[in-house]
C-alpha cells in the first residue's frame, strides 16, 4: 500500500527531537505535508521527569505531554503513533512502516534515539527486572512498587542515581552497584562523583563501587537478589538496570548512510545523503566544544539539533553550535553541567564541597573544558554563556571567588 499524498517531511521518531523537528519546520515556514512516526503509543512526552517526579507520583501523566493532540492537528502535523519505520529506500525516497504503509519523502529526518543496553547476566530475564527509558517502563515499575521493599539499581549513572534517590525518598531500601570506581564517571569529575557517593550514603543508599554483577537470583520467576562479583548477594524485590544506551542507527546503516557511534551528521544535521537528516541521541557530530566526534544524550542536544533540522527542511541554514548542557536532580541536589569535560587533568573548585554548594571548573592543560555546579546555578549559567562566547577562562579566574562570572559574560559579549 503506497500513499499517494505529496511528498514532504517525514520524521522517524516522536520523542524530544522528533516532535521538535516537525514544530521547528512549521515555525520556519515549511508548508508541505509533515508526518511524524512514533513507535510508542503515547503523544510525544518529556523523558526527564520519568526517573524523578513521575516515578514519585508528583507529576501526573498528562503533565508529561509536550502538547495536546489538538496542537499537532492545528499545526498540520500528522502524528502516527504506534507506527515504526522498518526501512529507508533512498533511491525511491520512501520509508516503509511496520503497518505496511510506504511513505514518500522529500526530506527525511531520523530521530530514532537510543535503546537501553541490556543486562546480560544469568537471571536478567526474571520478573521484577526493569529499565528506565519509556513511560511504559516506569508504569511497569510503579505497578509493582506496593509490593517492593528492597531495590537494587545496577549502574551508578544519572538515570540509575535519579531512580535510586526517588525510590529511597519513597521509603524503600536501595542499593546502587557500579562497576567503575566512582559514580557518573562518564559525565562528571572526581570531586562531584565523591560528593554524590557521600550524599547518597548519608541518605541511606548502599553505594557499592568497583563492583560487578555476577547474576540475578530468583524464585518462581521473580527476582529475589543480586549476586555481586565478590560473591555477596544483595536482597532485591525490584532491580533497575541503568547501564547505558545504544544508538538506534540500524535503519540508517542498512540504507547505506554513514554511521559510526551514531548516524554521522554535519552542523546542519545532514547525513551522508543530502535529503536525509538525523538529530538527537542517535546522531554523531563534531563541534568546537570537544575533540573528535561525539554523540550526546541530552534534552539540549535533541532540542537544538531539531531546531537546526526543522529550519534546514524549510530551506534555512541555522548551524548547530551551542555549548552542551545537562542536569540531574537527586534528592535536594541540583547538578548542572556544561561543556564536555571528559579527559580533564585539573579541577578548580569554588564554593564549599562539604556544604553541597560548589562549582568545579575542568581544565586540560590551560584549556577550560566546562563546569559542573552543585546548587550553584549562577555559575552554571555563566559558564554556559562563556563557552558559547568562546571565552578562554583561566584557572586563576576560575578559582577567584571574588570574581563574579556574570561580569566576565558581560565583557565577553561586548568584546564579541
Amino acid at each position: 500500500m503506497t500513499t499517494s499524498e505529496t511528498a514532504g517531511l517525514v520524521v522517524i521518531g516522536g520523542s524530544h527531537a522528533g516532535h521538535q523537528v516537525a514544530i521547528a519546520a512549521r515555525a520556519a515556514g515549511f508548508e508541505g505535508p509533515v508526518t511524524v512516526l512514533s513507535d510508542e503509543r503515547e503523544l510525544p512526552y518529556q523523558r526527564p521527569p520519568l526517573s524523578k517526579a513521575y516515578l514519585m507520583g508528583k507529576q501526573p501523566r498528562e503533565a508529561l505531554l509536550f502538547r495536546p493532540a489538538a496542537f499537532y492537528e492545528e499545526q498540520g502535523i500528522d502524528l502516527r503513533l504506534g507506527v515504526g519505520a522498518t526501512a529507508i529506500d533512498r533511491a525511491a525516497h520512501t520509508v516503509a512502516c511496520d503497518n505496511g504503509t510506504i511513505l514518500s519523502y522529500k526530506k527525511l529526518v531520523i530521530a530514532t534515539g537510543t535503546r537501553v543496553r541490556p543486562l546480560n547476566v544469568p537471571g536478567s530475564d526474571l520478573g521484577g527486572v526493569h529499565y528506565i527509558r519509556t513511560l511504559a517502563d516506569i508504569d511497569a515499575i510503579m505497578a509493582e512498587l506496593d509490593r517492593v521493599k528492597s531495590v537494587v539499581v545496577i549502574g551508578g549513572g544519572f538515570i540509575g542515581l535519579e531512580g535510586a534517590a526517588a525510590l529511597k525518598t519513597m521509603g524503600r531500601d536501595v542499593a546502587v552497584v557500579e562497576l567503575a570506581d566512582r559514580l557518573m564517571a562518564r559525565g562528571v569529575g572526581a570531586t562531584v562523583s565523591e560528593y554524590y557517593a557521600t550524599h547518597h550514603r548519608a541518605q541511606g543508599v548502599d553505594v557499592r563501587l568497583s563492583t560487578g554483577v555476577e547474576s540475578l537470583a530468583g524464585e518462581d520467576g521473580h527476582v529475589t537478589g543480586v549476586v555481586l562479583s565478590g560473591g555477596e548477594t544483595l536482597p532485591a524485590d525490584l532491580v533497575i538496570v541503568g547501564i547505558g544506551v545504544l544508538p538506534n542507527q540500524e535503519i540508517a546503516a542498512e540504507a547505506g548512510i554513514d554511521c559510526a557511534n551514531g548516524i554521522i551528521v554535519d552542523e546542519l544535521t545532514q547525513t551522508s545523503d543530502p535529503d536525509v537528516l538525523a538529530v538527537g541521541d542517535c546522531a554523531q557530530f563534531e563541534g568546537r566544544f570537544f575533540d573528535g566526534p561525539l554523540r550526546l544524550e541530552s534534552v539540549q542536544n535533541a532540542t537544538d539539533q531539531a531546531r537546526t533540522a526543522g529550519a534546514a527542511v524549510a530551506g534555512e541554514k541555522k548551524p548547530y553550535d551551542s555549548a552542551p548542557w545537562f542536569w540531574s536532580d537527586q534528592f535536594d541536589l541540583k547538578l548542572q553541567m556544561t561543556g564536555i569535560t571528559a579527559g580533564y587533568d585539573t579541577e578548580v573548585i569554588r564554593g564549599d564541597v562539604a556544604a553541597g554548594e560548589f562549582s568545579v571548573f575542568y581544565f586540560k592543560g590551560d584549556k577550560w573544558l566546562g563546569t559542573d555546579t552543585v546548587n550553584q546555578p549562577a555559575n552554571h549559567i555563566a559558564s554556559r554563556r562563556l563557552l558559547d562566547a568562546g571565552y578562554a577562562l583561566s584557572k586563576a579566574e576560575a578559582g577567584d571567588e571574588g570574581l563574579a562570572l556574570k561580569e566576565l559574560v558581560k565583557a565577553a559579549r561586548k568584546g564579541g
Partner: protein, 107 residues
C-alpha cells in the same frame, strides 16, 4: 477551576482553565496556548517559559528563588521587573483570573 489569561505579544488573548497545583507553563502547553517553549520541561534550566506578569498580580506570587533569578538573566527577550518563569508559578485559587503576557520570543 481557576482561570489564566495568556496574552500573546500581538495582543490576542486566550483564557483557559488551569487546575490548582499546575504550573502556568504546563497550563499553557496542555491548553495549546502558543508562545512557551519550556524545553527543559519545568526544571528551571532553560528560561524558555518566560512570561511578563500583569502588575496587579505580581505581589500575589511566591518570591523569585535563586535559580529562577539566575535563569531570568538569560531569557531571549528582555528581562523586566515583572518577568517570571512560568514553570515556577503554581496555580492556586488565589491566582484565579491572573493575566500573563508572553514575550516576543523564547529562543
Amino acid at each position: 477551576m481557576p482561570k489564566v489569561t495568556y496574552r500573546q505579544h500581538d495582543g490576542s488573548e486566550e483564557t483557559v482553565d488551569v487546575r490548582a497545583g499546575t504550573s502556568l507553563m504546563l497550563g499553557a502547553l496542555t491548553s495549546g496556548v502558543e508562545g512557551i517553549e519550556a524545553e527543559c520541561g519545568g526544571s528551571c534550566m532553560c528560561a524558555t517559559c518566560h512570561v511578563y506578569v500583569d502588575e496587579a498580580w505580581l505581589d500575589k506570587l511566591p518570591k523569585v528563588q535563586v535559580l529562577e533569578d539566575e535563569m531570568l538573566d538569560d531569557t531571549a527577550s528582555e528581562r523586566k521587573p515583572n518577568s517570571r518563569l512560568s514553570c515556577q508559578i503554581e496555580m492556586s485559587d488565589a491566582l484565579d483570573g491572573i493575566v500573563v503576557e508572553l514575550p516576543e520570543t523564547q529562543i
